[in-house]
Symmetry: none
Subunit: 215 residues, 4 copies
């Protein structure tokens, strides 16, 4: 594969794709419009990417990569689960504010229009996080700080579920609307309480209770 495109140009093209895919979804996004938005010709797009789907995948990967980078910067070697969670939530909120279309793209990926692309990709995207979260929770549990009868993998899974929904809530139309129904305002107007309450929720979920201590 040729690589005459400068790094910045490539960046620009992928960002154009992410924006368009995030706005209209895989099916309703036009390759011609992406090219126009990126200031290149369709020909170039097809020179570097086999077809629409592979370009979509490239966009997904870029947006995931960026999220991963953001997160890993923020949460280096964090000790305690809840502190870790707090930083994570903060970082996600920031990321959602700065790159909503990246999250929208990610949501696009999960929808059925992209069904054929899923195999393998999920592994690549979710694998790191899954292992990371499971690991931390497992460790915290072994430290005796989480109820002994919890399945660390499933608890990690639930934890991640809450974080995924958090992102969709900030970035995707339907979920934003749904938040408004629950809370009467845009999620952006409640950044702090969302973070605090989610932390409480997690704190409660992850902390040993009186009776657990007794035993």
């Amino acid at each position: 594969m040729l690589r005459r495109l400068t790094e910045e140009k490539l960046e620009e093209i992928l960002e154009a794709g992410i924006a368009e895919f995030g706005e209209h979804g895989l099916a309703k996004t036009s390759m011609n419009k992406i090219a126009a938005r990126a200031g290149i010709s369709v020909g170039v797009l097809y020179k570097y990417y086999e077809d629409k789907e592979s370009f979509f995948l490239a966009c997904v990967k870029k947006s995931i990569l960026e999220l991963d980078r953001t997160l890993s910067e923020t949460i280096q070697k964090e000790d305690k689960l809840l502190q870790y969670a707090e930083r994570l939530i903060e970082a996600l909120q920031r990321h959602c504010r700065e790159h909503p279309s990246h999250i929208r793209m990610y949501h696009e990926l999960t929808s059925s229009g992209a069904a054929e692309l899923v195999p393998g990709l999920a592994q690549e995207i979710e694998g790191v996080t899954a292992r990371l979260y499971s690991g931390i929770i497992d460790r915290t549990q072994r430290e005796g700080k989480i109820r002994r009868d919890a399945d660390p993998k499933l608890f990690a899974f639930f934890f991640d579920n809450l974080l995924m929904m958090l992102q969709f809530t900030y970035c995707c139309g339907y979920y934003k609307e749904r938040f408004r129904i629950y809370c009467g305002t845009e999620p952006e107007n409640m950044d702090t309480s969302i973070r605090k309450e989610l932390l409480k929720f997690l704190e409660s979920a992850f902390t040993l209770k009186a009776k657990d201590i007794t035993h």
Copy 2:
């Protein structure tokens, strides 16, 4: 006016629509294919539904209605939050097993392809649940069984988030794959532990801890 379209036929058509929309998404689903799948001509589709979008909406509404019916049957006048949650999870698991395409269709609705249809629809779909959950949690909190400093609306929201993700996990390709990454197997093979662990998670999240009791 004769109504050649029997109740069952209508049912069949909507199910065909739900299946196709769930499989390919709003944009990539073809009305002709839906008609073929339902064993009717396109003409009929357009006799009963203004256009593709209104048919899509009819499908969404049907699937929502059916879920609502299932849930409201299961959880009448339930007293305790956790018992309520248990029934809810059970009912959702059953529903996911029986009508996966309904959930897939719901997920489609949340993706950007259906953006123009969202306003108002979210209210209709999420409104009931939102009020129900908020109400129960509020009550439970006033009974002194949930930490006093929790925002019942946000706790209800997190609760619903977990249930939404549960459904997607059972029914939508990407989420299934993701679950496998966390747990190494299909969610269907873990029905019981998923239910039990989610209940534990919720129980912990919603139950007062030692220090809370002191005050």
Copy 3:
């Protein structure tokens, strides 16, 4: 062919057809709408008329017949060409006021959408008028009142042309607009002067001039 339809019902159906065809033209008129407008089912339409085109023809014929009746009532045994013309114009103006859609239908017939239907039909529609006008002009000429070197057939033809355009001007959108461009107002607002001026024009055209008399 069955004929259980009462005379009035048939009338109503054809009038519905004339109205619709006059409004939207042959191609854009829907048989279903005609049926609805006439208060019958499409089935009936197709019981009495082979297909859309034959129904269109039936409508054309009815509207022509009615015009013919109106004219022949008005202009019985008229002696002088110009008096004859005056009555004719008056009758046409009245007809246009009362049955604009009939004229519109007639115009539809002349347009290419109805190309295959033309053969034979023109004869049926124009034959009477053509012979009538040619006859009168021929007679008037033989009476020495029209220049000897005029071809009565062509003069009759020009005469009819002016009357056709008169009708279109009163009834058909484009021609009405065109009239406004010439005169700055709707033809309906100028009934009298249109009639008078057309008569002057015809009078001049048909009357011998000084030099002709000399010879």
Copy 4:
């Protein structure tokens, strides 16, 4: 921006459109068939024209433009009304022979199928002619060569009516058939006498008569 569509190709496409629209009318003409006739793909049609209607308008404008060019070439600075008329008729006859489909297309425009497009278009098409004819007749009248009591605008209108019908007679099926009924042969076979007789008719209509002179 490259312009692969050469001037000639564009010409060809518009001519294909004019031919098809002239043959079948706006509603029954298919864009795919036009493309096929022009030897291009539909895509090109839609690249250069918004939709069917704007393409139709482009065709109309082209055909009008060409007629205008033909006429304005022929009749520069003509002095006398009748000489002017003679040149005009000659030019129209030639134009009808060379571009019958242009006239057919023009006739299509006047039919109800194109109703929504009419506003404004009529002004554009008829305005020039209307002013030109009215002007010449007005002038001629002021020179004392047309009866003083004639309304120049209406006389110009009748004049134009005769010329419009002349064109339809040469080019449109129904009108051709109608001519045959009057004269027993095709208009093409009577070019000269049609022109001569129409000139006589106009000459008579526009020339002062004995009694007018007296006063």
